[in-house]
Amino acid sequence: MPKSKAVKREKPKERFSYDPTKVLNKLEEYGRRILEDIKVGKNPYFDIPTRGLNNVYFDEKRRVIRMGDKLSRRYFLNVAHTRKFMQTLLLMAYVKRLVSENKHASLREAYYANKHTIPGTKENTFEDQRESDPIIEDLERMMGVLREEMHLTADRRGYIYGDIVIRDGEDEFNTSKLGMGGWAVPGTVEHLQFVEVNVDYALVVETAAMADRLIEEKFPKKENALIIATQGQASRGVRRLIHRLHYEEGLPIIVFTDGDPYGWYIYSTIKQGSINLAYLSEKLATPEAKFVGMTMDDIERYGLKNVTEKLKGIPPNKKGGPTGDYKRIIEEMNYPWFQNKEWQRQLQLALKMGVRIEQQALANKSLEFVAKRYLPEKINNGELLP
């Protein structure tokens, strides 16, 4: 099959930049500043960017969800702040030890490692992991570093398969030579180095079942593609990996999800970032990603009408509506980054038809159909949504 010009590797835009001394310097700087404040009789504080919707905006120019500049000041001498102030410092000290000793800890380990009873009281430094997790997020926001850079690992989910060579610590391997299961993406990908990249693009696949199907059909080899299975909403590790592959290796990113509001939302998160992690968009989002399917047009084009499923919830024109899937579609229609003709048309169509379609529905044609016809046809013809 001839190679199309629609999708091809570009020149790298960013260089791998992980530097543990940067994190250590920042931590020391904060500590020094607080000590100086207290010495001169000033109430020490941290300035932490505010979380939540009211401090998030869509950066039209860079096409990502970004965090605003609203700060909240966390003082030592304030009854409402002082406990969090103490917790922030505890975790900062912990991070310093982790990074300087080059050890990694999960969020849960970080919680247990810092939990103890405060002498002379019945109070614990942390009562619950729900107390330590937000402080770690605060540190990310405050210092502008990823928690992965602080050696605090995120959930591990997703895997990759394809002809690339990765160096992970002392190990070096080709992710197409590890068997059908590929290589599981770790919680933190900061330390990975891409030794060789012999693929033209990365195909991000929502479900593991579909990724497995494509590997079995030898799609990566035939199409010279890297398969990245997200297994649902993409984890931070996977998102960061996608980002790095795109910016450091110039790989085009093509996303393949179900044709339903959840699938489109997964795409939106990979592309623009999320509200929750808006402060990390610049490191996690990949605005240049494109969408291959499933689209509403596919139903007509490939004759899949009988394998669609009804949308859940009440449509907007019915009493009590919209709810469920309908409601989410309408929400997505209002996203700034879906404000273009193609996406508006898709979403309108979904509302009108009242159906959703899964990736696996393509198996209705034949097991090879997705690998041999659907994807190559659309990708090579550049029939992608922005």
């Binding site: 931590l27 020391e28 904060y30 500590g31 020094r32 607080i34 000590l35 207290i38 010495k39 009789g41 109430n43 003082y75 030592f76 001498l77 304030n78 009854v79 002082t82 406990r83 102030f85 103490m86 410092l89 505890l90 900062m92 000290a93 310093k96 030890r97 405060i118 002498p119 002379g120 009281t121 109070e123 430094t125």
Partner: protein, 566 residues
Amino acid sequence: MAEAKQLFKEFKIQSVSEFFRRNAAMLGYTGKIRSLTTVIHEAVTNSLDACEEAGILPYVRVEIEELGREHYKVIVEDNGPGIPEKYITHVFGKMLAGTKAHRNIQSRGQQGIGISGAVMFAQITSGKATRVITSTGDDKIIEAWVKIDVDKNEGKIVRKEKHPNPKGWRGTRIELEVKNVRYVRSKQGVYWYLKLTAIANPHAHIELIEPDGKLIVFPRSSEEIPEPPVEMKPHPRGVLTDDVYRMAKKTRRNTVKRFLIGEFSRISDKKVDELIEYIAALRLIKTEKDKNVQEQLYERLAKGEVKAVLRSFRGYTKVVKQVAKIMEKPPEKLTWQEAEEIVEAFKYMKFLAPPTHGLRPIGEENIEKGLRGILKPEFVTAVTRPPKVYSGGIPFQVEVGLAYGGEIQSGFDLLRYANRVPLLFDAGSCVTTLAARSIDWKRYKVDDLERAPLVLMINVISVHVPYTGTGKQSIANVDEIQNEIRLAIMDAARKLQTYLSGKHRRLAQVKRRKTFEKYVPEIARALSVLTGEPEEAIREYFISYIENHFAAKASQAGAGEVSENA
């Protein structure tokens, strides 16, 4: 139809003891617990009054011995002026003949039955005479056994002994033997009564020996002897026809006019001239046949248009002259009807408010001393309001004390007094209770009144306290009195509020400080890891920072409220 003769066969003159038995409730002798309290009340009141009048700091000792089932001996001893021998029978034997009865004077007792009632009660329950030991501090001590001749209403001494008095002892000790009573440490009992008495009389040292031999001392907390109350002339708005009639019979003045001016307060020559016009006007109005017209005339009179009312009748000057003649005749010739006319006219006239110099409040300082000395609270305050008038002419005064915390147990207590006498019964219907309950205590930082360690004392002082019943244990709900009580309570409660909010603030401050301090070791350890400076030094920085902050705060707080923004 029965013959009058037959009916009158049953007619007897009621003896005093008969009266006493029938009216025991009225005099406070009802119930086994209350009867004992009443006996002691009468004796202690006599002692306190006697001491006050003689300018002696009272020392009163009450002793109760259990002789058998519901059978006690009550001993009350004081350091008062003593009783001259020839007055012993008067003091203890004659009922309805006290020194203060029918005088316009603020007093603890009022009926003039007092101690003779107690003697009578002892006599009819145990059959025993009351033993009196007294000396005025001269060379002899009199010991007398007193009984009451119920038919003659006279005291008689059944036995008398004289003893030498080498040490110059002065005072009075009486011993009464009573039955059908019971000693209980309840809120209606002797203990509680004496405790309340001690609070309202901080200048008195009071001791109680309970039947089981336990000695309880309510020590003196003030060295200031209250001035004895003075007699006040009655105010025209506060008198009844009977008062005017009876006073007229007794007076030494030679005309009605001189009698009115001399024996009532706020009556002058001019007021008598006015009185003549009012009486004349009232006489004339009564001749008017048309009810509507009559009503209108009464109304105009009440507005003070007496001259206009008079002029509306033809030949009114004749009537005025007739009335003027009443004023010139000797007072003993004043008829009941004329007295009635005078009192009616008084109701329409305007007078200056009555004088209040005869009222003897305990005083804010002494209330505080009393509450502090007996209850040992952490906070105490008192308010004595200026005198006011109710029913147009009866002066009264209200004072309250508030004691909070310290040794006071939780649970709100209301201590009620009338002229310093504790009221132990009928709390529910008392104006003091109504007033205390009508206060929104939450507004004064007392969040849960029923569980607050709070004691409120209320003393209502008047030459005529309007009791609700003959038991004299509950003050009637007179608007003017309730208002004054409320104002006094609110005033005192505001001071309590200031104290409580200051206390809350200090407590909160300590708590805040602790909150910061407890995190310091954690912070120091973390900062030491981050900066490499020694943990101990960092801890010092933080502790001294907190120290300075709260020291600055405390000095600011002295100047006033401080905002709580740390």
